[in-house]
């Protein structure tokens, strides 16, 4: 089976999820202030091993650093916590003062895991690094020219550049170079001068449309930046070719999350409750591929089939048969997607969490899906 549904806790919408480096434990937040860790048992079920309870308001994002095994969480309570697992297995938290006066919306560890970036509704991105002497996380702010809430961030492989999507309909690439902790970076396709908070590139979603940016993603080499917006579009900017941006307006509902699963392949998922494949050709043009599964409404034929029920439904709902169950595995919008197995060059398994509280694992290398991916060679 290419899509397998996993039960991690109650059927309450999952806001975000992150995997441990061995992929045996998952951290999820069910739309509340708690972060729950579930470990996979032999036999396939998931047991709750820990609850990280320190935030006062809803946890908006979680990220788990694979090498240093640190978890960072950020919340609507304007705080972020870094969690470190002790020798006894218990998780110890450290408060990070972000110095923002609005909710923190998204957080990501940098590739070398010595920094993390937090987006917020205060129109500030906080870049946090560990001050070794004082053993304290220091936050530096990127403000200009952000004009509204930052919804999503993604790191360039060089550990310096950061892409941020915002509700002012723009995608921007900033430098987060912190001279105290890292050597001066060499030039990339995005520019040569990289002082802290320098705006390297800015792309607007609005002349050709509009809509908040929901997710941004750098490809493996960091030469291309892809994003999805609320105007049901997906776009890719190619730095080497002079920051050329190619946008595709789709026929589907807007996407909320995005992953590179190959050098020319993107996977996007959102309000249609199923991940959709996209292909990017050498010129940067985006074309739509197949959905990972076919949907369509499923008519519940069991109880409703009797004549009495049909009339009852017609009276109560205005239609004879109850068709509110979706034909896709997820029953609600997918808001978080992670590579479970593989990397941005070749992703073999991908996990999604959604508003239906379900975790679904998609096996991209298995029969049916592999066929669809292979057919996507344009």
């Amino acid at each position: 089976m290419s899509a397998s549904i996993q039960k991690v806790g109650p059927a309450i919408p999952i806001q975000c999820h992150a995997w441990s480096s061995d992929r045996q434990t998952i951290a999820v937040s069910h739309n509340d202030k708690l972060v729950e860790l579930y470990k996979q048992q032999p036999g396939g079920s998931w047991n709750q091993t820990d609850i990280l309870d320190q935030h006062d308001l809803r946890v908006n994002d979680i990220d788990w650093a694979p090498n240093t095994n640190r978890i960072v969480t950020c919340s609507a309570d304007r705080n972020a916590y870094v969690w470190v697992q002790g020798a006894d297995g218990k998780w110890k938290h450290t408060l990070v003062l972000l110095r923002i006066n609005r909710a923190a919306t998204c957080v990501r560890w940098s590739p070398q895991e010595n920094k993390f970036a937090v987006g917020s509704g205060a129109r500030i991105i906080s870049i946090c690094y560990l001050d070794e002497e004082k053993d304290w996380w220091v936050a530096k702010h990127i403000r200009k020219p952000l004009r509204s809430t930052i919804t999503t961030v993604d790191w360039h492989p060089n550990n310096i550049l950061l892409a941020a999507g915002c509700t002012d309909f723009k995608v921007r690439v900033f430098s987060t170079y912190i001279k105290e902790i890292e050597p001066k970076p060499s030039a990339t396709e995005w520019g040569a001068k990289m002082p802290f908070a320098n705006l390297m590139a800015e792309f607007s979603n609005s002349p050709t449309g509009g809509g908040w940016i929901h997710a941004v993603a750098f490809n493996e080499e960091g030469t291309r930046l892809a994003w999805v917006g609320h105007d049901s579009s997906i776009a890719v900017a190619d730095a080497p070719s002079g920051m050329v941006m190619m946008k595709l307006k789709t026929n589907l509902l807007p996407f909320l999350s995005l992953l590179w699963i190959g050098p020319n392949r993107l996977l996007a998922a959102g309000h249609d409750c199923v991940p959709v494949l996209f292909h990017v050709d050498s010129a940067g043009k985006v074309s739509q591929g197949p959905k990972l599964e076919e949907g369509g409404n499923v008519v519940e034929a069991t109880a409703a089939a009797s004549a009495k029920n049909m009339f009852k439904n017609k009276d109560r709902l205005g239609q004879e048969l109850v068709d509110s169950r979706l034909g896709t595995t997820h029953q609600n919008q997918i808001n978080s997607m992670r590579i479970l197995e593989g990397n941005k060059v070749e992703a073999r398994r991908v996990s999604t969490t959604a508003g239906d509280g379900a975790l679904v694992i998609w096996n991209l290398a298995s029969g049916a899906l592999a066929g669809k991916l292979a057919a996507l060679k344009i």
């Binding site: 607007s204 449309g209 509009g210 917006g229 049901s232 307006k249 509902l253």
Partner: protein
């Protein structure tokens, strides 16, 4: 004893201040300095319709739609023309016409359809519903989402 309240609490004018005007943090929309079209010419449209070239008239109003034009009168005039063109089609011709459009034109057309729903008259909505159905079959919910999110309104 009669307590004399401070004089300024007698007036309730403070309730009518627009607080947002005084906030310095307000989000200001990008000022778009692009030149926008002035809208389709009525003569051109009427002449195309009278020559039974409805599809050309449709392509003409879509190509010359004053998207994002700040002058409401210009956009309203263009809407009236667009509706006249759409209603001049025979119901059976609509599907073929929609097939001849590209995806950008269909997005603009969907915006006009929804604007047309806002000003119904004499059975216009019935015809617009047919238009809506045919455009939807090609452009899906995405075109409807863009009616809501696009910055440049018709």
């Amino acid at each position: 004893q009669i307590y004399k309240m401070a004089k300024n609490t007698n007036s309730t004018a403070f309730r009518r201040i627009d607080v947002d005007k005084y906030s310095e943090d307000n989000y200001k929309e990008d000022v778009d300095n692009e030149t926008v079209t002035a809208g389709p010419s009525e003569n051109e449209v009427m002449s195309l319709i009278s020559q039974n070239k409805q599809l050309d008239a449709l392509k003409y109003v879509l190509a010359n739609s004053p998207l994002g034009n700040k002058n409401q009168a210009v956009r309203d005039a263009a809407l009236t023309l667009a509706l006249r063109v759409m209603l001049s089609f025979k119901t059976s011709q609509i599907e073929e016409a929609v097939k001849q459009l590209d995806y950008e034109q269909r997005d603009i057309l969907m915006k006009y359809i929804y604007r047309g729903f806002e000003v119904p008259n004499e059975g216009s909505s019935a015809q617009l519903l047919v238009w809506h159905d045919k455009v939807f079959n090609h452009s899906g919910v995405g075109s409807i989402v863009r009616v809501l999110t696009d910055k440049k309104k018709v």
